[in-house]
Structures are given as structure tokens and as C-alpha cells.
Symmetry: D2
Amino acid sequence: MILILNDNADPKGAEYAQLMAALQRLPGIEVRVHRIEGELRAVTEVYLIGDTKPLSIEEMQALPLVERVVRVSEEYRILGRHKDDNRPSHFEYQGLRFGQDTLNVFAGLCAVDIPLHVEQMCRALRDNGQVCTRMGAYKPRTSPYSFQGHGRACLDYVFDIAGKYGIKVIAMEVTHESHVNEIREALRATGSTTGVMLQIGTRNTQNFELLKAVGRQQEFPVLLKRGFGITLDESLNAAEYLASEGNSKVVFGLRGMKTNMGDPHRNFVDFAHVPVVRRLTRMPVCVDPSHSVGSRARAHDGILELMHVTAQAVVAGANMVLVDFHPDPPKALVDGPQALLLSELPHFLEDVGIARDAYQRRIETARRHQAA
Amino acid sequence: MILILNDNADPKGAEYAQLMAALQRLPGIEVRVHRIEGELRAVTEVYLIGDTKPLSIEEMQALPLVERVVRVSEEYRILGRHKDDNRPSHFEYQGLRFGQDTLNVFAGLCAVDIPLHVEQMCRALRDNGQVCTRMGAYKPRTSPYSFQGHGRACLDYVFDIAGKYGIKVIAMEVTHESHVNEIREALRATGSTTGVMLQIGTRNTQNFELLKAVGRQQEFPVLLKRGFGITLDESLNAAEYLASEGNSKVVFGLRGMKTNMGDPHRNFVDFAHVPVVRRLTRMPVCVDPSHSVGSRARAHDGILELMHVTAQAVVAGANMVLVDFHPDPPKALVDGPQALLLSELPHFLEDVGIARDAYQRRIETARRHQAA
Amino acid sequence: MILILNDNADPKGAEYAQLMAALQRLPGIEVRVHRIEGELRAVTEVYLIGDTKPLSIEEMQALPLVERVVRVSEEYRILGRHKDDNRPSHFEYQGLRFGQDTLNVFAGLCAVDIPLHVEQMCRALRDNGQVCTRMGAYKPRTSPYSFQGHGRACLDYVFDIAGKYGIKVIAMEVTHESHVNEIREALRATGSTTGVMLQIGTRNTQNFELLKAVGRQQEFPVLLKRGFGITLDESLNAAEYLASEGNSKVVFGLRGMKTNMGDPHRNFVDFAHVPVVRRLTRMPVCVDPSHSVGSRARAHDGILELMHVTAQAVVAGANMVLVDFHPDPPKALVDGPQALLLSELPHFLEDVGIARDAYQRRIETARRHQAA
Amino acid sequence: MILILNDNADPKGAEYAQLMAALQRLPGIEVRVHRIEGELRAVTEVYLIGDTKPLSIEEMQALPLVERVVRVSEEYRILGRHKDDNRPSHFEYQGLRFGQDTLNVFAGLCAVDIPLHVEQMCRALRDNGQVCTRMGAYKPRTSPYSFQGHGRACLDYVFDIAGKYGIKVIAMEVTHESHVNEIREALRATGSTTGVMLQIGTRNTQNFELLKAVGRQQEFPVLLKRGFGITLDESLNAAEYLASEGNSKVVFGLRGMKTNMGDPHRNFVDFAHVPVVRRLTRMPVCVDPSHSVGSRARAHDGILELMHVTAQAVVAGANMVLVDFHPDPPKALVDGPQALLLSELPHFLEDVGIARDAYQRRIETARRHQAA
């Protein structure tokens, strides 16, 4: 059960103390407070965890400061979408909005290799009006003998260059909690001219200790990728770990599932789940066409399959696209064969735009028919 | 290796006999002739099967009547798309064109139950300008104790009603070779006022004896659904069984794969394979959103998930949509819960139209960028 | 609901007519009679299909000829194991017993190629005391351009040779109902010196028309292989198709599931399901280690992996083993690389024997502990 | 390439320095030294990583201290089994041997709940001659709202009680590197009367940072469970992370794969991979029947399915069994329904013994036939 408090709820005030005292007396109920600081106002949500069936909505509504009460189903308490639940499905970061109603493209390098490539990438983004990118510094690799990313060593120049070209948010995977501090320090050292969305990869979707650590900070939003060998439900529960520790600025990422039934694609593309995640939760949904398709195969109609699956995600309402580009794919240290070329960026963006337009026309059409 | 003969190749002529004699002399090579009768002209293709590596393209081209020679890779000889292969990727039936460049919607009843419902369905289609439908008479069911379809008994009234409402093609599943004769006879008995596309379902994708039998007739085109538990490659090989027996009027259908990784959808939606099938073969590609999604779940944006996945297929170039409607879903004998209502048909068609427009804009955009 | 009739129930008698009349009057209930002819006596089971909840066991027991009434759960009515259900879990064929309490080994040729190999195989079997074999005449192949088996053409010599060497039962796959007649005729033409267990392969597990046709005859028992891309429950329902048509002499075969999670095995070995099938149904359970493992890889302890999985099946109670041997594997037309050599037959049989001994010791140990 | 040094190789000696200097000069080759301290002698292995194709075995053999040179394939360099590779496939810990030639049973509590249950469990083990157990303190759970284990808080009493009853090794899952220190400290605080095998669970198989951290210590051996949604190859590469950091006392654990094709088992039992892992690597192989089967379903022969799959693993050479018991399953906080009862321990051990005997008879039989 969630109690949403009045805007003016003051955690130091008497009414607040009174409310907390009342809640502590509830038998077998654990109380967790989530405070989400928005641009204009702060929202305080109080989660009652345990057997809340005996509690009546009326009684709870009668407590001081309580504006509204939502009875939630067991799963995805915080990030889920519950009956009569109109809590927001977006957040702000670095002046950008990430929500179920927006679309942000993060084109960039799967793995940072040399400063020149970072600079070429960022310049191309700026020239095409983009303010987000992806840059991999910490790379989890199947074999211990493969290149594991430059890690801390590349952060300074990556942030410097990104800031110089007006990039506001960089999606960057972390594989250990210490990486968050390294990123925070490097951002400060380079004048905080850009921002970072922490990315948790598919191999760590159920690395609950990492989720808890990343969930305990609220400075950076988090992109959690779906586990490629577990059910959607299990991955959504993993996202809830982030939120249960206090960080609900979470984007959920689809990236294909590991089964040979998806051949010849590298993974079984799962973008039909875009609307499902938006129905079950309030998270914006990201897709990663590069790791799903894993090749530059071109369909007979002249369009790359990677662009086809991107259009499929966007036409069904995807809110974020994470895609690999590289100025010189043969020199890429990781996943070169699936990278798009910088010269393909305008086409890619235009193609995404067509699919987004179509999605918006679809929404309007649905409204018109429902009204009729 | 395929020899494509001149338009005027006459199977009874001297040159033809000369050609065949020359081919018979090739050691270890089996010769199969495929004659595809089009509206305007007939195309004759001669397949050389066996070890064709020693044969030179020049020598073959020098034989009488040979217009062009295509060296094919081992797989999907007839239906596949080979290097420098510009054989047609469409066919005509009942005055309609089915190709990689067209889009046909087959909305209809998963299973025929009573004449009233068939009539209501067909009337709705006519009122919405549709000339194709789906009507299930023979239903393969997991349990022997479930309703198995009305079979032969319903064919007459189905064809009568369909013809009356201007339906030109009915997609109808067959599960035994005898059903083809039953359908042929019923069509004749009712004056051949409509046509049938034979559908082979996912449980029979590797029922090779059925494929051979259906492949031996050329009157009806065939919609072969992908096997829900085998690789794409294996299903494409199954399609080749139809063609190797002489019928290359084949549409390939995607309908979702059987794994719980696709939950909460009934099957794991595999429509990212639409452009893949169009790249590997010359078959038009159909999708079945009803059996893939298996429910009427509605996304938070107000659009049914079933319509979302349809749009995903169409925006990536799908050529045919097979979708379940029912005038009175609670009374449906099979799969009622996933059926759309007749009142939803105009919205469905409009939604498909938006996605198709977007696909065409995407194609034009790709051409413009490639030309640049 | 199943009514098991008295031994002396005479289908032509007055009591029988009285019983049937009473049953016909039950509203919404379909009546199906199964008569199983055993060596000593015939058992008549009457299945009541439909909503049997309102029927009381007492009332049914009061009807003439009814010895016992079993209320069955919905699924696997005939082949399933229901509460308080002590119907037999075995059948006899050619003087051999196939049951949940026996073990029969069927070593033989995956595909018949030449008479010499058939003869070498049968001689090796006789010399090792074996009376069963496998011989593939009709081979379903992924590609239409692969060898499809000699079919009808090889039956006469196969049956002749088998009879000559004392083989009593040959497991032989059929892929079309006409094959059953071909087999019946060839057996008669060659003097019925051997017998056949019809095998339905994994690609036809849900080829319900074939199941119905094979289920309608009772001369030959049937080995139904599990579908390699469907759930166990769906495959068990498929077996029920055979029984619902009248043939309950069914052995259920495990042969591995199609997913790359089983690599480097050809299929994901599923022999942990041996005790599950024996719990849910009364069918004897067969395993096919050759198609599961698909190679002659040898474990570090010197034992072939194919023999390891066989031992795993037998130690958990498997009742039949279908395994590929070949006198000259490089010359085999199908699946040579996984075939065992004739010289390995004694070792294979001895290894199976050790596992069977262990199973029997395990059963005794379990009884002792349960009694304690 | 691996250089195995003489027993008397002294890392402080002149020859050693000479060897290292020679190796440093090899272009593009990284040198890693692994020193494995055994009871009697220390083995030093020098790994040359990079393009070693140009290096000749003769030249390397000529370097000081080098006893033997093994050219390894790319994968599983340290833990793998390479051609002509007779490095040991066992290690010692707490006076016990863990190898491909031994069998150790770890029966115990999935999750520690109260000291009484720990005591009852350990007493039963001692009474049945057991010296190993499993005790879960840190529990990774799908939902953040589920019980997460008592963690550090229970370690002291667990170690105290275990030591008191003669338990030498406790398998205990860790989900964060800090847990290793907590365990080390608690062991010391309680007098080091027992030992711990660190367990890394299926959700962390590709948590490479945890693997690296655990691999950097050599005090505790490690049981790495296979990832339940990745290929076997990927999981074996994960084990190599442990070894590449210095710890090659690694046991590899099978615990079933996540796919509904394994229903009604909780996971798809993958124990056919026991001999495969023993062929590809030198690691002892553990199986976890409790999490694979996930229920107390009893086969028709009176044996629990959980015991059937255990016997299957052991008859094919498994070296370790991790199995859930509980003195009072209804009170278990995690996975109670699959736990065996303490009263079933003697039967379980006897059943395992029968399968182990059979395995040994199978090995002898194989040797006899190979010698023949």
C-alpha cells in the first residue's frame, strides 16, 4: 500500500511525526519513505510493506498529510502501474525529460577506444542536433582474456570531449559499485559539463548487490537492461531493487534474449515487449537494436535490419534507443561488425523520426476511435 | 543451378528436347523443371540438383533456349534469394497480387462455428472494402477432447457466403491432404465464387508428407506457418518442400515462438524476422498477431498489444496479416479471448494503414540516402 | 470418468444393451468404448466424456456390468495415471512385454541403406541375445534435397533378414498413414516372421491426422516421440490422440529438446523426465540417446557421452532404449557420426545392464526405507 | 601456452629471473604466473597470453626451469583440458580431496533460519558420517521484498555449531566481495573449527567483478554455478575468470536451466552435461538436484524425482552433490517445499552410494572393453 503525501509534507513537522508514529504501530508492517525531488515540487510516498490486506483505505486516508492511498499488488510496488494509479511515468535529468511520453536517442561508442574516436562521434552528434550518447568504459566480457574496457583511465577525456560538444547525458555501463564513485569524481574533476546515466548490463540484471548500491544513490538515473536468459517478470523485479533502495529514476532496456530461435540475429529481438513494460510499469522503455541484431545485414528493401527493429520499437512507443556507431568500425575493440557509420547517422535519425511520427498518428487514431 | 528459359520455350519443341537431352547427359545431376504460369507469360525454370560445381555458367548459357543461369547456394534452391537473382518475388491468385511489395489483410474467424457468424464477418469485411478473410474449418487442437472444427460440413456455406460478399481469397488451414480435395470439390459445388489459400499450421511445418501433397497441386497458393519450436532455417527448408514439388506460390507466416521468455504474450513474438525472411527468400511474409500475443491486453497508450505488434510487422515490410475477429467472442469455440470485435475493424485497418505509410516513407528515405 | 466393466461383459448381451441405454440418457455426455484384448482376458473400459461432475460414483457403480469407476482428471484420460488408478501399465506384443516394469533395447540402423548392413546388424544382435531392433525406411529430413529413405522398396528384405535372425520387433518410423499398410502388406508377403512397432517422430508429434490414423489400428504398438519444441504436457496430450482412437499400446519416447542451451549436445538431453512420464501416465518410457547427444564424444573417463546418458535414463527407470548402430558408419546415409560400432554392442549392453541393476537395487532400497 | 616449471623453481632464484627476462622480451605476449600450493609440493605454471602461434614448443622447453610446455586452445586456458594435458584435476581443502575422481555430498540448509535448525542438521550429518554441509547466509532473491538471508549475523553460530559436529567444509553462497571478509573474520573469531567453500550462484555467474574478487583470494575454494540462461561455454568461460585471477580451486555446479521446456520441474535438469564438463575442463562437477527439480514429487516407483536426478548425475560421474534438507520444512524461510527431511538422509545417502557403485563398475567395464 502506498500513501502519497501532500506537497507541503514537511519531514520535520509535527504532523509528519504523528503520521509516522501511527504507522509504526501497525502490526507486521514495515514503513519505507521515498522522496522524489522534482524541478518544481517534491513528492513523498510512504510504502507500507507486509500484510496490508487488513488496512482500510479510508482509515489510511484519515491520517495526517495523506493525500491519496493506492493499494498495490504484490509485485513492482514502486515502479509498477497499479489500478487507479496516476503517479508520474517520467523523470528529469540534466534538463531532459525521460518518460513514457518522450523519445531520446543515445547513439555512440559501444566501447571507448581512443580520444579521436570519441571526438569524431561527439562532433557528429552535435552536427545532427543530438545531446545524448553512449560511451562504454567498463566492459563485461565473456572471456577474461578479452579487452575489458579502459575503465577509469578514459573517463576524463570522455567527459571533457562530451561537454565540449554539448552532450548532456552519456549512458555508461557500470559493473561494480566503485565505478559510480569513479564516474562522480571524474565528472567533478572535469567541471561537470556533462551527465551520466548509469547502465547495468544484461549479465548483471540479477546482481542484486550492485542494484542495491546503485539504487542507494539518487544523483544518476539508471538504465537497467533486461536479463537475456530470465523472464520479463524477473527482470522487472530486478528494477524494483533499484527503486526499493530509493532511486526510481529508472529506464528499462530491452536488448534481445539468448536463444538460437532468434538466429540469424545475435539475440531473439524482444521489442514486442515495449508496450508490455509500459503497461505493467511506469518506466520509460529503451531498446538496444545493435546488441539484439548484432550485424549489419541489409534487408532486400535496402534498409539495415538493425534499423528495421529500431523502427519496430519506436512505432510501438519505445522511449529511448541505445545504438552503436563508430567512426572506423574495423578499428573498434568491441562489436565493430554491428556498428553504424557516422555517415549513416542522418539516415538513422530520419528513419527513427518517421517511426515516431507514425506512433503519434497511431495514438491520435486510437483516441479518435475510442471517443467514437 | 537454375536455368531460366526463354519466354517462348515450348516443352513440345525440338530445341526443348535437345536441351533436355544435353542435361540428361550431365553425370550425377538430377533435372527438375518448374513451369510458373503467370497472367501474361509462362516462365520455365530448370533446376539442376547434385554436384553442379564442375558446370560452367558459360557452357550452360550456350544450351538452346537458356536465357539466364543462376548459381544457387545449397539451401532454399527454389524459394531462396541467390546472388544476382532477380526472379520475381510475387504471384497472382484470384486477380490479387501477393508479393514482397504488397500488403493483404486477412481478417476473419479463427474457427467457423455457425453460418450467422460467417455472414456477419463477411459483411463487415465487405463494408470495409476487404476482399480476403480467414476461416478455420479443420482445427488441430492440443487435446483430442477439444472441438476439432466443423471440417467438410461447413465448407459449402462458408464458400457461398464468402462469394456473396465479394471475398476473393479465404485462408483456410488443412491438416490432411484429403482436405485439399474437399475444398476443391466444395468450391466447385458452390460455383467457384471465391478462392482459397491453403494454410499449413505450426504443428505441421515439418509434416513433410503433407507439404509434398500440397506442393504437388498448383491450383491453390499456400501459406506455410513457421514451426514454433524449430529454427528459422528449418522452417524455410520446409517451405522449400512445397516448391520442390512444383508449387512456388508460397507465403511464409510468422506466428510467434513457443518459449516462456515471451510471457506474458502467448508466444514470443518473432516479427523482427520479417525483413530476414525477405532477405533470405523471395516469399511474401505474413504475420499472425492474434496467435502471437494471444490476448486483448491493452497498452497504457490505449492501443491493444495485438495492434502494436501488427504495426511492428507492417512498418518493417510485412506483406500479409492474418488476424482473428469474431462477431461475438464469448461464443467463439476456439481462441475467443484474443479475437477483435467487428466494431474494431475500421480502427484496425486504419492503424495498419498508418504503419504501411510509414514503411513506404522509410523505403523512399533509404533510397534517397543511398543515392546521396 | 471411466467405467471398468466385468470380465464377462458381453457386448452382445442384454445387460450391455441396458448399460448403454442408461449411459445414452446422460445429458451432454459422450460415450466411448475401449476394448483391450489381452492374452488371457479382454478388458472393456467405457469413457464418459463431457461434464461428468454431476455424476456420482455410487450411481455409476450401480449400473449393470460395472466393476469399478475411476474419476479422471481432464488430461490424459486414457493413458494418464489417475488417483486410485491401478489399471495396467504394460502391454504384450510378439510375446514380449512392454511395461513400466521392463527394459527392452532396440539397437539398429537409423536408416536402412543396403541389405548387407541390415544382415550384419541383425546377426550382431542375435549373437548378443537381442530380439528387437530399429530400422528406418521412411526418413523425414529437414531439406527436401536430402536422402528420404528407401521406403517401401526395402521392407521385404528388411523383414526377411530380421525374421531369419530371430528379431521379434522392429521399431520403424512412419510419416504417412499409407506406410502402415505398406508395412502390413510387406510383413504378410514375407511370412510374418517378425513384428513392427510403429514410430512417430518428433516432427510429427502434433501431426494429429497421422496420430488418429495410427491410433485407429490396433495391430501394431506405437512409439511416440516427444516433440522437440513443445512442452511435455503437449506431447503427452498427443499420445492421448492415439489412445482416444482405440490404440493404447503406446510407448512414449524422449529424444532431447531443441535449444542451444544443450550444446555441445545435438539436443538438450531430457532424460530427467523419465520418472515424470512414469508418474503422470501409465506408458512405458523410451529414450533415444543417439539423437539426443548426436556425437561420439568420449568423456575423460573413457565412456562415450552417449552411453553416459543411456545409463542416466536406465538408472532412473527407463523401459526402452532406441540406439543407432552401424556396421560401417562412414557409409551410413543418415547420422553416421553418432552411430556406435557393432564391436561396441557387447560393451553397450553390459553398461546398460549395470545401470538396470542399480535401478533395481534403488527400488529395493526405497521399499526397505519406506517400510521402516 | 603454458610453461609448467620444475618443482624446485624458486621465485627468488637466478634461473627464475632469467626465465622471466626471456619471457618479457617476447613481443605482444602477456605473462601471468600461477602458483598452486599443494600439500606436498608447489606447482608453478606460467601462462603466455597473446599470439603464441609463432613460439615453438622446443624453444620454450629450452628455457631455464621449464619442465613441460602445453599449447592450449584459446578457451578455458587454465581450467580447460588440453591435448596431452595431464595437469591435476583435483585439489585439497580441509584435508578433503575434491577432484574428478571423488564424490562429496553437501546436504544442508538452503537458508539458515534459527540456530536450532542448524544444530539439528549438523547432528544428523555427523550421525550419518558426513563432514560437509551447505548453509545459506546471503540469499539472492528475485524480489527485493523477500527474505534476503541473515547474512553476517548468523555466521558465528553457524561456524560454532558446524565445528562442534565435525563439519569440515560448508558451502556458502556469497553475493558481494565483502562477504568473503565477513566469512574469514567469523571463521577466525570462532576458532577456525570448520571451513568454507564459497558458492557463486546462477544469477552471478557473469558478475565478473565478483568473480575477479573471489578469484584473487586463494584461501577458500569456489563452487561456481552455471548460469541458468546462458550457454555452457559462456559459463565455463566465467569459471576461467576465477582461475585467471589466481584461484583454480574451482568446482563447477550444474543446477538446471531456465526454460519451460523442463516443466513440471522447476528448471530443465542439465545433468547430461556432467561428463561434458569433465571432458572439456579439469574441474570437479557438482550438481544441485534440489533447485533443478524444485519439488518433492515422487515417481510411481516410490522414489523422489529429486533422488532420481541425483542418481543420474552420480552414475555419470558427478563429484559433488549439493542438496537441501530441513528439520522442519514448513518453517523454512526459503524453498521449504523442495527440502528433504532429516529422516530421509540415510536413504538419500544409500541411494547415492548405489549410483556411485554403478559408476565405478561402469568405469571398470569400459577399461576392460578398451583393453580387449
